[in-house]
Each structure stands twice: as structure tokens, then as C-alpha cells.
Subunit: 257 residues, 2 copies
């Protein structure tokens, strides 16, 4: 314990961090038309955006995009700026989820990393690019990374796995599925998106259940046209399906009723 009262606030007396980076795990769901398809739902796959490092440390390895915070910006600002600079992605849903501060996690020194996760609709990733410290920007199938035990730079594998766990949790209790969907969508699309993120989620009667007003909890609503008639789409099927949208209302779940 310290005895000098000044020592507790005068940072000059202490070693200070060598940097406060933000790292961002950006997830998207890619869609691919099935070849033999007449009208059918596309194949979907959960992907994470990684860059190949061009410089020491971990040169040549895959890493999450990110970079150092500046004195004049908040961590959220940092994450947003780095995302834009490194990948050309901006204006997407991004949230902070954890700090990584184990001593020795970065060979460059004492680096306290702030991890964000972002959810992006595939279309918004079209203009992505690589910045000067990254050789390459690419989308990698989450399933491959998890199963291959592929190592990422720093502790980024752990960060990515934590981010994945977090979006799986959020997918079921918040309305984030909307980040992967168009504004209006069919219940089959919604079900597909949920299953793509949370493979264990199985609901044989999903559509029927969601059609019961109570089950939607006010979070989903049917889309109607100007005359108040139900609006349908036959993009993915012969028979047209009712379109839904998220209301914007916050889901209120409870263990206790």
C-alpha cells in the first residue's frame, strides 16, 4: 500500500501504459444463391473480417483490425476511425464488449486492448480496402477458424471467440438480427439468420410461433402497404410470404415472468 497521498494520483511517479488500442471483430453473413435453385433461400455463412499483418509483431499472421487510441478521442471514436481507415467500413452497428489486459499480451509493451464487435450487412463490405499496416483484408468463415485451431496475432483468437459468444447470446435476447437483414424480411430469412449465428437454435414451429402476436413480444410486426393490406414477397419462394420488420421496441425478457 502507498503512503504518499500524492502517489495515488500523480501518474508521473508510475509506469504508464504504452498504448490503448481498440480492436474490432466485424461479423457479417454472406449469402450465396444455390445453383440448382428455382426460387429458394440462399446459403448463408457467418464470416469475420481479418487483416493479414504486414509488420512486426506477428508479421504475416491474421489479426483483427484495430489501432491505437489518441488523446483527443474516446475509445469508441478510435474503434470507428480504425475501422474506417483499415477496412473502409463505416456507419455500422458497433459496440464495446471487453478489455484485454493480461500482462505480456503484446510484445510491444504494456498495451490494454479494448475490444468492439460490429455487425454488418454484407452489402456494406463491398468497398473494403487494406491500409498501410495491413497486407490484406478478407472475410473468413467463423466455423473454419474455430475448427482449424488457426492461431491469430496477439490474443486475437480469444477476443474473436469471446465476441462470437457475445453475438450468440445477443442474437437470442436482443433484436440484433436486424443488422444482418434488410429492413423487411420473411420469417424464413429471420430463422436462417438466427441459425447461421446460433446453430443450436432449433424451432420446428418457428414461423407459426412468430405469427402468434404474443410470442413476437412487440418486437416484430407485419408490414402492410398504404391500404393496410399485408405486404408479401415471393423473392425466395413460389408462394408469397408475409414480410416482417423489427418495431424498434426493446425486448423485455425475464426469468421471473
Amino acid at each position: 500500500m502507498t503512503t504518499d497521498p500524492a502517489s495515488n494520483y500523480s501518474a508521473r511517479n508510475y509506469r504508464t501504459p504504452d498504448g490503448a488500442p481498440a480492436d474490432i471483430a466485424i461479423f457479417t453473413i454472406t449469402t450465396e444463391q444455390r445453383l440448382k435453385a428455382t426460387k429458394s433461400l440462399p446459403m448463408r455463412e457467418l464470416k469475420v473480417l481479418l487483416i493479414k499483418r504486414k509488420v512486426w509483431p506477428f508479421e504475416g499472421m491474421l489479426a483483427l483490425p484495430g489501432g491505437f487510441s489518441r488523446e483527443t478521442e474516446s475509445m469508441y471514436d478510435t474503434a470507428r476511425r480504425e475501422l474506417r481507415e483499415e477496412t473502409g467500413v463505416d456507419g455500422v452497428h458497433m459496440e464495446y464488449f471487453n478489455v484485454y489486459s493480461e500482462p505480456g499480451r503484446d510484445p510491444r509493451g504494456w498495451m490494454i486492448s479494448h475490444a468492439f464487435l460490429a455487425l454488418v450487412h454484407e452489402d456494406r463490405l463491398l468497398y473494403r480496402k487494406a491500409a498501410d499496416d495491413a497486407a490484406e483484408v478478407g472475410l473468413y468463415a467463423v466455423k473454419e477458424i474455430v475448427e482449424s485451431r488457426l492461431e491469430l496475432a496477439f490474443d486475437h483468437r480469444r477476443i474473436m471467440l469471446d465476441a462470437l459468444e457475445q453475438i450468440r447470446r445477443m442474437m437470442l435476447i436482443t433484436a440484433i438480427a436486424k443488422e444482418f437483414l434488410p429492413e423487411q424480411f420473411t420469417l424464413s430469412e429471420l430463422y436462417q439468420v438466427i441459425r447461421t449465428v446460433v446453430p443450436d437454435f432449433e424451432e420446428s414451429n418457428f414461423i407459426r410461433k412468430m405469427k402468434s402476436t404474443q410470442s413476437r413480444s412487440g418486437v416484430l410486426e407485419e408490414v402492410t402497404d398504404a391500404m393496410g393490406n399485408p405486404k408479401k414477397s415471393n423473392e425466395f419462394s413460389q408462394r408469397a410470404a408475409q414480410l416482417y420488420r423489427f418495431t424498434g421496441e426493446l425486448p423485455r425478457l425475464s426469468l421471473y415472468g
Copy 2:
């Protein structure tokens, strides 16, 4: 954008943070016997632990306990150490919930603060104390702080309010109520604890609902004695009430069934 590849990892070229503090919002629920009571449930109140600052900056104001991280420890280690040093509290449920990094939030310099919240049973706070940079440690009613618009040091009012919002959310979707309860408790106690944290929570039929096996979601279970008979308590009532405990199973809630 930078053009020198080295500039992105060589922190020496950049201003680095002046410190990375951890601040901890410790909540407890105090119980007080009602005076006129025969056997009755106690009054409960949600309190937060604050210290009165002895030194610049914000000398004399109330603040969350906390302090600076060291190079040899993780943020969680820091929070735990500061909690022990400043308040004598250790071994409690504590979790990280946000980072506070707005420029100018600390007059001592560029300080990126990491906020934890802790939930403590009243009994564990008996041995608390004040350390050298804190004049005083005390429990303050959350309701008073929220309603009085009392300012805290730094941005600690905001941090405290964010922590409060977080425990309200968690109270309903996780089993954290157990941090405020003995291992075995009656459903009335549980209901009281929930209501103390989340005043809006009203369930007229709470006990009946929880007695239905489905509603408990496997998270609550009845306590039985060695012979398998239901174990009851008449601590708070004339008629003995069934005791329950948390199973340790994780609640699985979902918007979508």
C-alpha cells in the same frame, strides 16, 4: 492516415495514456427489521459504496472506489486489489461492464477508466475501512443519489447510473439475485430482492408462478432435507414457507421461443 509503417506500433512516437484506472461500483442491499413487526419481512434498500475523496482532484467529493492499474496485473486484478485496499472487501462477485475514455474526463491527464460492478451481500461489508486517499467509506442509498442529482467526482455519477442500469437488466435475465440472498431463501425474499433492484417489476402472482416447474426454467429448485421432504422456514412468517435455492444452471432466455 500514417505513412510510416513503424508509426503504427512504435508507441514511443505517440502520446501514451497517463494511466488506466479501474473503478468499482459496489452494490449491496441492506435489510432492516421493521419495528412493529411480529414475524415479518425486513425493509430492504439498494445501496452503493462510495468514498469521500481526501485529495485533489475533486477533494471532498464522493467517488467510486478505484485506482490505477500496474504493468504486472490485468484490469480485473487491479479492480480486485483496489477494492481490497480501499474498502477491505474481497472475494465478491465482480464483473467488468464498460470503459470510460472521453477526453477531459480526468484533470490529471489522459485516463482511460475501466468500470466494474460488484454485488455483495450485506454481511460481507462489515469489515470495510478507508485507505489513505479516501477519508471515508460509506453506503449511500441509490434512490437518494439518483433523485438528489448529487454530483460525484469525475464522471462517476454517469458510471454509477450505467452500472445501475446494468444490474437492473441482469437481475431479470441472470441469476445474480443470489448475490444478495442467503444460499436458501423463500420466494417472498427473492421477490423482495428483485423489487428492491427493479422497482418496476410487479408480479401479483409471483409465488404461484415460480412454483410452476416450467416457470423456474431449471434455475430455481426446492430445498429438501435428507429424507427428501420439503424444507421450510418460518423466519419471516407464522406459516412456514418453502425454501428455494439457485441450481447454478444458466438461464436460457430467448425472444424467439
